[in-house]
């Protein structure tokens, strides 16, 4: 055993996993999912939608279970329940006197509980652990295809509407006053959130997917004052964490989802402490020169 450990050089550490088909697939999917979620996380953190991200990602649970049971693509079920939860949150908020964060908490825990009950009741080969914690190392070919398609849809829409969505997050009133339909942008962003939650749960599972949707954006936000740079930094840090997380998971035999999110959190921590302008130990000369 000790001989084996000694023989691992950094090059081997990187290349050995690539000899396995399942690892090549896992790394490819994780990097892609990381990019998609990283890109969207900028809008989530700037719009203040962290709780909404948490809600939608939990609410897709019953959709995944029902879709598996019926033999449909899991993403379809997840998407229907993701968007449904958002619509329900809006409806309950409008029709009652309850505050929004309470409504969000109510709706997503209700959906999540329904999902857990369904898993225990529906006889199928659904693995609860796989849904809750993700399993990029065991991802099937059809799941890879779904993830690819959804990822490209999300990236495509975000590239087209990135400036409108940025304006919507920054100053929705101005957007409306120049004739932009902010209602459509609102639901577009929620739809993208549902789709990203669907791809995110592939790698880190339902419970941790919210981390994919906020941590990269928060990290990037501490590093720059420009929106375009923020999106690039978020995508880089997110896909890097995903790839590194998968490697660590492979070599140390630990849960992949936890490994990915932990790397992300560590990168955030480094930015929190040492970001040149906004870190705890910031570079004073940078600020004084401003």
């Amino acid at each position: 055993m000790s001989e084996l450990l000694i023989s691992i050089t950094p090059i081997n550490w990187l290349l050995d996993p690539l000899t396995h088909e399942f690892m090549r697939r896992a790394l490819m999917v994780s990097a892609l999912v990381g990019s998609v979620c990283g890109l969207l996380s900028c809008y989530m953190t700037l719009k203040g939608w962290a709780l909404m991200g948490d809600a939608v990602s939990h609410a897709v649970m019953p959709g995944v279970v029902v879709a598996y049971a019926l033999g449909l693509p899991f993403s379809l079920g997840a998407f229907v329940f993701g968007v449904g939860s958002v619509a329900l949150i809006g409806f309950v908020k409008q029709k009652s006197r309850i505050k929004e964060d309470t409504v969000i908490g109510l709706v997503f825990t209700g959906f999540f509980a329904l999902g857990i009950v369904l898993v225990s009741k529906i006889k199928s080969n659904i693995d609860l652990m796989q849904i809750l914690f993700g399993s990029p190392l065991g991802i099937s070919r059809s799941d890879v295809n779904q993830t690819l398609i959804i990822s490209f849809i999300v990236i495509f829409i975000l590239l087209i509407f990135r400036k409108d969505l940025m304006l919507y997050c920054f100053d929705a009133k101005h957007a409306r006053s120049i004739g932009i339909n902010t209602g459509i942008l609102h639901y577009l962003l929620l739809t993208l959130l549902s789709l990203s939650a669907v791809v995110g749960l592939q790698t880190v599972g339902i419970i941790l997917v919210v981390a994919m949707l906020i941590t990269p954006g928060a990290t990037a936000y501490l590093l720059t004052d420009r929106f375009d740079r923020m999106t690039i930094l978020a995508v880089i840090s997110s896909s890097f964490s995903s790839i590194l997380g998968v490697y660590i998971s492979y070599w140390s035999d630990i849960e992949t989802g936890g490994s990915i999110v932990l790397v992300q959190t560590l990168i955030f921590l480094i930015a929190f402490l040492f970001a040149p302008r906004y870190g705890i130990f910031k570079n004073q000369s940078l600020i004084n020169n401003d």
């Binding site: 700037l46 087209i160 400036k163 409108d164 940025m166 304006l167 997050c169 920054f170 100053d171 009133k173 101005h174 957007a175 409306r176 006053s177 120049i178 004739g179 932009i180 936000y221 720059t224 004052d225 420009r226 929106f227 740079r229 923020m230 401003d290």
Partner: protein
């Protein structure tokens, strides 16, 4: 000059509100509010908090649909006027997230979005409009700075520049004098006069009576409806202000006009 400005037509109506009523879930916020503003005028919208100032603003911007009445901007319906980029809104400093990662240049460029195609890729003419707007508010040298690093007065000027870049003929300003330094106030005074010269119409929502007296040709006093409307010198009477503020004007009235009013009483 943009033909929609029609600055040569002195009597061209920029803002027409006819018996506008707004209610929120059965609660009346505004009733029978009527107002006509000509091209090339500066008008103050004065009232207490909750008197319907912001409701009136929202109705003029098309954010809420009046339950009754009619609003026309440059003769168009509000949503059509928005598509023509006729209406610019200059927000309160408090309403903006200044930690948002955008530069001065980015914010002013947002004024051009409505004139760009779906991808919002700036053309040379858009860049020129932004440069021109930044020069007019004296912020060109700070164009690369994040908006969060600016002072209160500079922040206000960024949003004025955005409205200039938009080339709107109607400007709606929400509490423009709060948190503003003296140089910015002087610059705003000059800008407003230039805007009026160019045939713009400016509507300023504020509770600051002294600034209304200094800046505005016309004033609208509002308390759930339009109580009085006309030239500032005629409308600013103690009686009218008492009606507007329920007998308690926010600032003790100062200056020759108001003391004369007291004598008349």
């Amino acid at each position: 000059m943009n033909p929609i400005f029609k600055s040569h037509e002195k009597d061209f109506m920029r803002i027409e509100a006819d018996q506008v009523c707004v209610d929120y879930n059965g609660t009346v916020a505004l009733y029978d509010a009527s107002l006509n503003l000509k091209a090339g005028s500066i008008c103050g919208l004065v009232g207490m908090n909750g008197a319907g100032k912001s409701t009136f603003f929202k109705a003029l911007m098309g954010f809420i649909r009046p339950s009754r009445g009619k609003i026309r901007i440059n003769g168009f319906k509000v949503n059509e006027a928005q598509k023509e980029q006729s209406v610019a809104y200059v927000p309160q400093n408090e309403g903006i997230d200044y930690s948002f990662p955008v530069s001065v240049w980015d914010v002013v460029m947002m004024g051009r979005y409505g004139s760009m195609n779906i991808f919002r890729i700036p053309r040379e003419s858009d860049r020129r409009a932004v440069v021109h707007a930044l020069e007019r508010v004296d912020l060109y040298d700070l164009r690369q700075r994040p908006v969060g690093s600016l002072s209160g007065g500079q922040r206000k000027r960024v949003f004025l520049a955005r409205a200039i870049a938009q080339r709107a003929s109607v400007l709606l300003l929400d509490e423009p004098f709060s948190g503003v330094d003296v140089p910015t106030e002087k610059l705003m005074a000059e800008l407003f006069l230039q805007f009026r010269q160019e045939g713009h119409t400016i509507l300023i929502s504020t509770h600051d009576l002294n600034h209304v007296r200094d800046f505005c040709d016309f004033v609208v006093l509002i308390n759930k409806t339009v109580l009085a409307y006309g030239e500032t010198s005629e409308v600013f009477t103690t009686e009218n202000l008492n009606k507007t503020f329920g007998g308690m004007p926010p600032n003790p009235l100062s200056g020759p006009q108001s003391s004369k009013d007291f004598v008349n009483e």
